[in-house]
């Protein structure tokens, strides 16, 4: 019985390991297929392959290549979207940032509209801030417990306390700031012209007063604009599903000046969200 269990576990491990290997091989193979298709001038085929890969897995170069292709076919909004994805994976790559600026410029989107890319308070830095805050807070608590002296009489102890307090306030504010950025990124979407739309891809996207095609628009934003999903009391996106099954989302501009309803096929989020 014991041996059978052991055999089963070994078999399962080999199965998982080999499937991972084959998955890695298949996506690499597809990637190279896309590169070849692009080199041969078949841009649509290359985009199709890259898009298929990106539905399951991601890499910075995959999104950058996809963004380049969209740029070449003059779909600057999708180009900007995929550059944002590439930058999220590899924030240090300056080429991606430069290309993103150009794509946004082509879309007619102001650079102020994109997220604050200050690395110190970026969403990724949230983890470092919380680690720092944890160390700082607990070291303070341990210091007090170890000394167990209240009220503090010695000047050194008071000095240490002041330094600790100032550091804790600073680190806490850094954590809050990066947390805000993280929350913003989790809600950030890029306005796109529907791929099935026959209209010019550079035409604006209306933010409608009501969740319906017949509604008038509060404002029209250029494709490639960063918008932010409005959340309800449960912290979920405010969504409306009409009788024909179309999903509408309430979105706002970066500083909340513009607001309106937008259809699901008129935007894509930067991160993979369940919408």
């Amino acid at each position: 019985m014991k041996k059978e269990i052991q055999k089963f576990l070994v078999f399962k491990f080999i199965l998982i390991f080999s499937s991972q290997l084959s998955l890695g091989d298949s996506r690499d193979k597809l990637f190279y297929d896309a590169v070849r298709a692009e080199a041969s001038g078949d841009l649509k085929r290359a985009i199709e392959i890259y898009s298929n890969i990106s539905s399951d897995t991601n890499s910075a170069n995959l999104h950058a290549n996809l963004a380049n292709l969209y740029f070449k076919i003059e779909d600057y909004a999708r180009s900007a979207l995929h550059f944002r994805k590439a930058i999220w994976i590899d924030p240090q790559n300056r080429d991606f940032s430069g290309n993103l600026s150009l794509a946004l410029e082509k879309s007619g989107v102001s650079l102020d509209e994109i997220s604050n890319l200050n690395q110190n308070f970026s969403p990724r830095s949230q983890t470092y801030w919380i680690i720092l805050l944890t160390i700082l807070l607990w070291s303070g608590i341990f210091y007090v417990i170890y000394n167990l002296r209240f009220p503090l009489k010695s000047n050194t102890a008071l000095f240490v306390l002041a330094i600790w307090l100032a550091s804790a306030v600073y680190v806490f504010s850094g954590f809050i700031k990066s947390r805000d950025e993280s929350s913003r990124l989790n809600r950030e979407i890029i306005a796109l012209k529907s791929s099935t739309s026959a209209e010019d891809s550079t035409a604006g996207i209306p933010l409608r007063v009501f969740a319906g095609n017949g509604s008038t628009a509060n404002t029209i934003v250029p494709p490639g604009t960063s918008l932010f999903l409005d959340l309800n009391d449960n912290g979920l996106p405010r969504v409306h599903k009409n009788q024909s099954g179309e999903k509408w989302f309430l979105v706002r501009s970066r500083y909340g000046a513009n607001k309106g309803w937008i259809q699901r096929d008129e935007f894509d989020p930067i991160l993979d969200l369940d919408l």
């Binding site: 890695g24 996506r27 690499d28 990637f31 190279y32 590169v35 692009e38 080199a39 897995t57 991601n58 890499s59 910075a60 170069n61 995959l62 950058a64 290549n65 380049n68 740029f71 070449k72 994805k85 999220w88 994976i89 590899d90 080429d95 430069g98 290309n99 150009l102 410029e105 969403p123 990724r124 949230q126 983890t127 919380i130 944890t134 607990w138 608590i141 341990f142 417990i145 170890y146 167990l148 993280s182 990124l185 989790n186 930067i270 991160l271 993979d272 969200l273």
Partner: protein, 593 residues
């Protein structure tokens, strides 16, 4: 009704009428009327009977200087029961020579009426011995002040040519004893006809000796360019802030005798000026001036090189011309290329390598993009360049080498059409920005960002730390011994008492505190509550029971004995002895723990 206020009206009339209808009288005088040449006097003009400001013009008296504006004083008083008013003007008068000076009568208008101010005389005597000493002191103070902080401006030549750039230096010397808080204003040039480059960060030197004093020196190197022909005076001023004693009566100009710089006080601004240099700006000679001379002055050389020697028709070639050496690089324009009909070119790009602050020494590069217009073995013609050498006072012309260029026939080249700036920005961006990556790089799963506060691992760590802190708290709480802490507190108190006694040479108090402290420490070390009541033999037994060495025990007993003798037998002890005893006890107590 009138009767009711009659007395009041009469009083009012009696009081105001002497003021309103008082006769106006003018008096002038010097106070004091006799002074020595080093002192000042006050010229007083008193208008009796009016409080209105007089209008007039004070006559000029040769040999006397009147301060302006004068001090004014209005006053009203009762004199023998009669109210009087007056207006007083006080001019401070400084004599310039000895003798008797008379201020003549002069016209003065008061309340739109004209009056005559009478004459007044002032006698100025030769300076006394005291005056002479004070004047000598003042001169010495001025000289000292100038030596405390001064600017030294140096220029390698007394002349320069129009458009020429020279390397100059300005140094701010600050005497080390002068309590300078900051340099408020870096040296500023005064004088026209010469322009200077921006003064950057100074070079700082310490302990520079001048006038048998030690100075801190801040030096700025800058470029000096002659702009207008003629002789120009150039000087530099700087402002520093120094701390002076908060004594308003002490004149700031006498810092060294009153020594006001040290200690706390207020800050004062101090202007520091440099020596004045007369610089002559000469015109460039017109004889022998080459036609391609464009204003370059200095000691320069030129060279050029292309980045390719073989291209196709229409392909760009980068031709770099480098002018290097010492000269007025700011004013050197790009040399003109005489390319003929085989090439076309555009405006060059500039770059400078060298001293960016002065742009006096270094290399100026001009990058031309030239495009061959026909195929064949062409030659990029030499670039000619002329400059004026101020050392040898002559114009020098130089030429670079010509460069062969093989141009292959390529696609037919069409001259570029002029495109608008908007069209330029809309053109496809540089190719290298959109490189396709041939390698997928590192694969990752979902694009998401997990919240660290929602991670179980984070809260497990917090829980562990919380539990650890609780355990530590309990351990610390249990480990506390209030009695022991109280005794340790008491020992600390005794130690401070010992130090106080030591400071005030209180021999008796010192030994009393020392005895109590040693006994207390023994109590702490041997966990004995009341050691002050123990006899010497009991202390010995106690220490032996705790395993202390015989040497330590005997040392303790010795010190305790000394303490008992000093406290009860009132034996005298020298202050330095108690210091030694204190040090010795400290060493012994370290052994008892």
């Amino acid at each position: 009704m009138i009767e009711k206020y009659q007395s009041f009206i009469l009083f009012l009339a009696g009081t105001i009428s002497p003021i309103l209808f008082a006769e106006i009288r003018i008096e002038t005088s010097f106070s004091p009327p006799t002074i020595t040449a080093a002192n000042t006097s006050i010229y007083k003009v008193v208008v009796h009977g009016s409080q209105q400001g007089p209008v007039g013009s004070l006559p000029q008296v040769k040999g006397l200087t009147f301060s302006s504006p004068p001090r004014t004083l209005r006053s009203a008083s009762f004199f023998n029961g009669v109210p009087t008013v007056r207006f007083e003007l006080n001019f401070t008068v400084k004599p310039q020579m000895e003798g008797t000076f008379v201020v003549p009568e002069w016209k003065i208008d008061v309340e739109n009426r004209s009056f005559t101010a009478p004459t007044a005389s002032l006698t100025v005597l030769p300076p006394s011995q005291k005056d002479k000493i004070e004047q000598a002191q003042k001169r010495q103070e001025q000289a000292n002040l100038q030596q405390a902080a001064f600017l030294e401006f140096s220029c390698p030549r007394s002349f320069l040519f129009q458009g020429e750039t020279l390397d100059a230096n300005i140094s701010l010397f600050l005497w080390d004893r002068l309590p300078v808080t900051r340099i408020e204003q870096i040296p500023q040039k005064k004088g026209s006809g010469i322009s200077i480059s921006e003064l950057g960060q100074p070079l700082e030197q310490r302990n520079v000796k001048r006038f048998n004093r030690s100075y801190s020196v801040y030096s700025w190197n800058f470029a000096l360019t002659g702009a207008l022909i003629g002789t120009h005076q150039i000087t530099f001023d700087s402002f520093i802030r120094v701390r002076v004693k908060n004594n308003r009566n002490s004149p700031f100009s006498s810092p060294f005798f009153n020594d006001p710089f040290f200690g706390f006080g207020r800050e004062e601004g101090l202007k520091v000026s440099s020596n004045t240099l007369n610089l002559e700006i000469r015109p460039l000679p017109s004889r022998g001036r080459p036609s391609n001379f464009q204003g370059a002055i200095g000691n320069l050389s030129i060279r050029s090189f292309p980045d390719k020697d073989r291209v196709s028709v229409g392909d760009p070639v980068r031709l770099t011309c480098i002018i290097s050496g010492t000269g007025n690089f700011v004013a050197i324009p790009a040399p003109k290329l005489a390319l003929g009909n085989d090439f076309t070119t555009s405006s060059p790009a500039f770059s400078f390598e060298g001293n960016e602050a002065t742009k006096l020494t270094g290399a100026q590069s001009f990058e031309y993009i030239i495009t061959p217009l026909r195929a064949g073995l062409l030659e990029i013609p030499p670039v000619s360049f002329s400059y004026f050498n101020p050392e040898s006072v002559e114009f020098i012309s130089q030429k670079t080498d010509s460069h062969p260029l093989r141009v292959d026939p390529g696609q037919e080249w069409t001259p570029p059409v002029m495109v608008s700036q908007e069209a330029k920005t809309k053109s496809t961006p540089r190719k290298d920005l959109f490189q396709t990556e041939s390698d997928p790089g590192k694969w990752i799963g979902k694009l998401d960002h997990s919240d660290p506060l929602k991670m179980t691992f984070f809260w497990v760590i917090q829980l562990i730390l919380f539990l650890f802190s609780i355990i530590l708290f309990i351990i610390r709480l249990k480990g506390r011994n209030p009695k022991l802490e109280a005794r340790m507190q008491k020992e600390k108190h005794l130690e401070s008492k010992l130090r106080v006694a030591l400071k005030h040479n209180d021999v008796s108090g010192f030994h009393q505190a020392l005895r109590r402290r040693i006994r207390l420490r023994i109590g702490i070390a041997c966990d004995q509550a009341n050691t002050s009541a123990l006899s010497s033999s009991e202390i010995v037994d106690l220490l032996h029971s705790k395993g202390y060495s015989e040497k330590v025990v005997s040392e303790i007993l010795e010190v305790l004995k000394v303490c008992d003798n000093m406290q009860y037998a009132a034996a005298s002890d020298e202050p330095n002895n108690i210091e030694i005893t204190f040090q010795r006890t400290q060493t012994i107590l370290k052994k008892i723990k």
